[in-house]
C-alpha cells in the first residue's frame, strides 16, 4: 500500500509541473500586461526607460524558462506565490485566509449531496419502476438541469419578497458560534449539494440495479437475510466504487460551483477572491488560486484511488 501511494505521488509530480506551466504561460499571455498597467499608472518620465527598469526589477527581461524556473522554485521551496499587485500582501496568506470558507462550503455541499443522493438512489433501485422511483429520477434530472446560480438567486429573492425571510449571509467564525456558522452555510451548501446530487443519484441507482442482479445477492436472499442487510451490507458496498470515482470526478465541478455560490451568498471564500482578482487583473492571485485548486484536485483524486482498497478487497490484494 505504501509503495502504491509513493508511486502515485511520483506520477503526480510531472502533472503538477505541466499544470503550473499552463498557469504560468496563461498569465504571461495577457495582452495588456502588468508593466503596461504600471507604466500607465505611474506616469513618470520616459515610458521606455521606466519600462526597461521595471522589467529588470521584476525579472521579466530574462528568458521565459528561467522566469518559469524562478517562479516555480519560489513556490516549491518557500511556498511563495508572489504578492498581490494591488494589496501588496502575500498571495499565500490571502489564499490561506480564504480557503477555510471554501472548504467548509464544499464539505457541507458534498455531505448534503450524498445524504440526498444515496438514500434516494438506493430507494429508486430497489423499488424500480414504482412511483417512488419516478419521483426520485425526476428529482435527479432536476438537480442536473437547474443551474445552481438560478436556484441560489430564487432562494434569495422569493422568500424575501413573500415572507420577508432571507438566508443569513453574516459569516461568524466556527470557533465563536458553531451553530450560527453552520446556519450560514446551510442554504448555500444545500443549493450546491442539490446540484451535485443529481448525477450521483443516477449513478447510485444504475449501479445498485446492476449489483442487485448478481448471484451473491440471490444467495444472500436465499440465506434468509433481512432486506436491510442484503441492501446495505451486500449490495451497497459493491455499488459504491463507481460512485466514489464519480465523487472524485465531481470535485472540479464542486470547486466551480463554490465560485458561483460564494458570489450569490457573498461568502468570502477562494471563489470570491478569484473573481475579485479577475476583475482587478491581479494575476499573481489568479495563478496562486489556480495552482492551489489544482493541488487540491490532485490530492482528492489520490484519496479516491486509495479508498478503492478500503472498499474493495480485490483491489487491495493486487
Amino acid at each position: 500500500m505504501y509503495a502504491y501511494i509513493l508511486r502515485r505521488l511520483l506520477t503526480i509530480i510531472p502533472t503538477l509541473i505541466i499544470a503550473s506551466f499552463i498557469v504560468f504561460s496563461l498569465i504571461r499571455l495577457v495582452p495588456g500586461d502588468v508593466i503596461d498597467m504600471m507604466v500607465s499608472q505611474h506616469d513618470i518620465g520616459d515610458a521606455e526607460v521606466t519600462r526597461a527598469t521595471l522589467e529588470k526589477a521584476m525579472g521579466l527581461d530574462k528568458p521565459i524558462y528561467i522566469q518559469f524556473g524562478a517562479w516555480l522554485g519560489k513556490i516549491a521551496l518557500h511556498g511563495d506565490f508572489g504578492d498581490s499587485l494591488w494589496k501588496g500582501t502575500a498571495v499565500a496568506d490571502e489564499i490561506l485566509a480564504r480557503a477555510p470558507v471554501t472548504f467548509e462550503l464544499g464539505l457541507i455541499a458534498l455531505t448534503i449531496g450524498l445524504l440526498l443522493a444515496l438514500p434516494i438512489g438506493i430507494y429508486s433501485a430497489i423499488r424500480q419502476d414504482t412511483i417512488g422511483d419516478y419521483i426520485g429520477r425526476t428529482v435527479a434530472i432536476l438537480g442536473m438541469a437547474i443551474p445552481a446560480f438560478w436556484l441560489g438567486t430564487m432562494i434569495m429573492v422569493y422568500p424575501a419578497s413573500w415572507w420577508g425571510w432571507s438566508p443569513s449571509i453574516k459569516l461568524v467564525p466556527f470557533s465563536e458560534d458553531p451553530i450560527g456558522n453552520l446556519k450560514t452555510f446551510l442554504v448555500p451548501g444545500t443549493v450546491l449539494g442539490f446540484a451535485l446530487a443529481g448525477v450521483t443519484m443516477r449513478m447510485t441507482r444504475a449501479m445498485m440495479l446492476e449489483v442487485l442482479r448478481q448471484d451473491y445477492i440471490r444467495t444472500a436472499w436465499a440465506k434468509g437475510l433481512k432486506e436491510k442487510v442484503v441492501i446495505l451490507r451486500h449490495a451497497l458496498k459493491n455499488s459504491l466504487i463507481p460512485v466514489v470515482t464519480l465523487i472524485g470526478l465531481q470535485v472540479p465541478i464542486l470547486v466551480g460551483g463554490t465560485i458561483v455560490i460564494e458570489q450569490i451568498f457573498v461568502l468570502p471564500g477562494m471563489g470570491l477572491l478569484m473573481l475579485e482578482a479577475v476583475n482587478q487583473r491581479d494575476y499573481p492571485i489568479i495563478a496562486g488560486v489556480m495552482l492551489f485548486i489544482g493541488l487540491v484536485v490532485l490530492f482528492v483524486n489520490l484519496m479516491v484511488d486509495m479508498s478503492y482498497g478500503w472498499l474493495d478487497p480485490k483491489v487491495r490484494h493486487k
Partner: protein, 341 residues
C-alpha cells in the same frame, strides 16, 4: 415495418405453410409474424428490411425506443426555431426601452413583465434563445473539432507523442472548467466570440479522451492494416477509414456537450464575465443591474432561469438518448439504465 408490409405479404403465406401447424394463417398476415418467419427463410429470401438512411433511422428509433429523449428532441427543436425566428416571434426589440413601463408584472401586453429599463422580458428571453443557440452550436462545433484533432492524432500516432499529449491533457484537466474559463476571460476579455473560442478550447480538450479511445480501438481493426498494406497514405486512412468509424462517439460528444456549453456561457455571463450587458444572455439577465430590483419584481429572476432549466433539461435527455442509441459502449455509468442484462 409498415412499408415492408406489402412486399412481405405473399411470402408470409408461403412461410406459414412451411412452418405449418400454426393455428391460423390469417394471423401470419400481421407484419410482426411475417417478419419473424421471414428470418427463418434464410438467405434466399429477397425481402430485406428496407435500408433507411442513418438520420431517418436514428429519429425513428428515437421516437420508438426513447420517448423521453424524443421529448427532449422536441425541446431542442423549439429552441432552434425560437433562435432562428427570434425577429418574427419577439413582440419587442431586446433592447427596446420604455421608461414608463419599468418593472411591470406579467400582463397580457408583456407576458413575462418588463425589467428595470422597461424592456419586455419575453422578447429578451426569445432573443436569449438565439444567443444560446449561436453560442451552443458554435462553441460545441469548435470543441468537437478540437477533440477530434487532438484525439485522432494522439490515438493514431501513439507512442511517445501520445504520452506527451496525454500528460498535457491530464494537467489541463486538473483545473475545473469554470476556473479555466474565468482565467481565459480575464486574459482575453469578455465578448461573444471570445466566449465561444474559450468554451471550444476548454471542452475540446476535455472531450479528446473519448475520441482518442475510440481511435485507438478502431486502429486495431484488420481493415486499417489492409489499407496500410495496399499503400494508402496516412491522411487517407485517417479520413476514409478512421473518421467514419468513430462517427458515433463524435456525434455523442457533440450532443452531450451542448448542454454543458450553454450552461457554462450562462454561468460566465451570470458572473459578469460572459457576453457584455445589453445582449440578452439568460445568465446575464440574472445578474448585473437587474439584481437590485429582483426583490421588488421577482419575475426578473424567474423567467431567465426557467428558460435555461428547460433548455438544459431538454438537451440533456436528448443527448442521453442519442448516446444510448448511437454508442452502446458509452452507455455505462451516467446514462439511463434499461434494467436488462
Amino acid at each position: 415495418m409498415r412499408e415492408n408490409f406489402v412486399t412481405v405479404d405473399h411470402n408470409s403465406d408461403k412461410g406459414s405453410f412451411m412452418t405449418d401447424g400454426t393455428t391460423s394463417a390469417t394471423h401470419s398476415r400481421d407484419a410482426a409474424a411475417a417478419s419473424s418467419l421471414q428470418t427463418e427463410e434464410g438467405p434466399n429470401n429477397t425481402v430485406v428490411p428496407k435500408a433507411r438512411g442513418f438520420t431517418a433511422d436514428f429519429f425513428i428509433r428515437l421516437f420508438r425506443e426513447k420517448p423521453l429523449g424524443a421529448f427532449g428532441g422536441i425541446i431542442v427543436l423549439i429552441l432552434l426555431l425560437t433562435g432562428i425566428f427570434a425577429d418574427v416571434l419577439a413582440p419587442f426589440g431586446f433592447n427596446e426601452m420604455s421608461p414608463l413601463n419599468r418593472l411591470k408584472m406579467p400582463s397580457l401586453e408583456h407576458l413575462m413583465g418588463t425589467d428595470q429599463l422597461g424592456r419586455d422580458m419575453l422578447s429578451r428571453i426569445i432573443y436569449g434563445a438565439r444567443l444560446s443557440v449561436i453560442v451552443g452550436l458554435a462553441a460545441t462545433t469548435l470543441s468537437t473539432i478540437i477533440s477530434v484533432f487532438i484525439g485522432v492524432t494522439s490515438g493514431f500516432i501513439g507512442g511517445k507523442f501520445d504520452m506527451y499529449i496525454q500528460r498535457l491533457v491530464d494537467a489541463w484537466m486538473i483545473f475545473p472548467a469554470l476556473v479555466m474559463l474565468i482565467v481565459f476571460v480575464s486574459v482575453f476579455g469578455p465578448g461573444m466570440w471570445t466566449i465561444i473560442i474559450i468554451l471550444g478550447i476548454q471542452y475540446g480538450i476535455g472531450g479528446s479522451r473519448i475520441i482518442r479511445g475510440a481511435t485507438m480501438s478502431t486502429k486495431e481493426n484488420m481493415y486499417i492494416r489492409a489499407a496500410d498494406s495496399i499503400g494508402a497514405s496516412v491522411p487517407r486512412i485517417l479520413v476514409r477509414h478512421i473518421l467514419p468509424n468513430i462517427m458515433a462517439p463524435i456525434i455523442v460528444i457533440f450532443t452531450t456537450r451542448i448542454a454543458a456549453v450553454i450552461l457554462s456561457e450562462a454561468t460566465l455571463s451570470f458572473l459578469g464575465l460572459g457576453i457584455p450587458a445589453p445582449a440578452p444572455s439568460w445568465g446575464g439577465m440574472l445578474s448585473g443591474a437587474g439584481r437590485a430590483f429582483m426583490l421588488k419584481a421577482p419575475h426578473l429572476a424567474l423567467f431567465p432561469g426557467l428558460a435555461l432549466t428547460i433548455v438544459v433539461y431538454g438537451v440533456n435527455i436528448f443527448g442521453d438518448a442519442a448516446r444510448d442509441l448511437l454508442d452502446p459502449r458509452l452507455r455505462g455509468g451516467l446514462g439511463s439504465y434499461s434494467g436488462k442484462k
